[in-house]
Amino acid sequence: MFSTIIFWVAAVLAVTAALGTVVARKVVHSAICLCALMVGLGLLYATLDAPFLFVAQILVYTGSIVMLFLFTMMLIGIDTSESLGETIRGQRVASGIAIGALLVLLLTAIAGALIESPGDLTASNEHYGGNAQGLAMLIFTKYVFAFEAASALVLTAALAAMVLAHPEKHGAKTGQRELAAERMKLYADLGISPAPIAGPGVYARGNAIAYPALLPDGDVAPDSISPTLLQRGVVVTDAPALPDLVAEAAAEIAGKLPTPNSTPTPTYTPPFSSTSTPTFPPPPPLTLPPTPTPTQTTPNPNPNLNPDSPGGTR
């Protein structure tokens, strides 16, 4: 039986996706699981002789509602930190008991009222020429007032969203003078530096924003990385490991490039090896490929690697 197979596939997909929505640590994963749940439910509707709802489910839910969730995450940042402590004593245990009791109750009710006949919607579906036509007939005749109320509801919701999400400005607009005074006050009170925040660093491996800037003593400047990246754990924060990364990249490039004919390879030692800081062990001397001559056909894949030009990386 074809619909039985679809039922089992869709039911397993839906329940797994629902569990994933609830259990996932990251909100984005929850949203993706919600997408899968909606697709599974749509398949279930398709096996229940509801082709219009099957399409509407996928269009409305995966197409707009989950997208709305994703847009919200984009606006307010992906904050994965969740307080795990209980604010109400015994809330988790009580919730678990309540959920289990409700599940048992529902399953008992279903088991007590086992439905023998699966029902047949073909006559109702064919009465007006199709499922969508039959639904339209019902919506615009029997349920027309509910439909009008729904339109008013949607309109109100759109207005409410505009009013709520619109950022309200209280008081006069703050100018340069006020901003500067506020900055200096923060510096005086809390010691927050009035200087601009350092930008992310640029290293031989890449110039992504995941590479933090280094302070003059070789430490990582924590302000130079976005806190969102820190939360995701994609930041290269290991300052002592950075010289190794640079050496690795240099070796990789040197292995890729054609061997130099007779020009002596310049041996370069990074400038930070001369400064003896405890947090920054001196890296091994790097062997850089020669700078390409104009006749060379293969361009240097990473011209920013040459640290002799300090302004070249900008």
Partner: protein, 99 residues
Amino acid sequence: MSPNAYLIVSAVLFCVGLSGVLLRRNALVVFMSVEVMLNAANLALVTFSKVHSVLDGQVAAFFTMVVAAAEVVVGLAIIITIFRSKASLSLDDARRLRH
């Protein structure tokens, strides 16, 4: 497939959504769990529509979808507004509404 299987799936989905509402603190996840519960109810409606061989259940499910869409729009706007003032998505931080 017997309608009972659909009803069991619906009950399980409802309880999973309920657990998300009761146990999670992140406002967005709680909101998604509410969506799961709404859809579980929808599945039961469509199943009973087939059992009774009338289309009214499907119309009810359709209206539930409309209400869910409106609810999501307003709810997410509220979440954004709370996030602007509290800089947090945790529901525990939003318990004080007087400020």
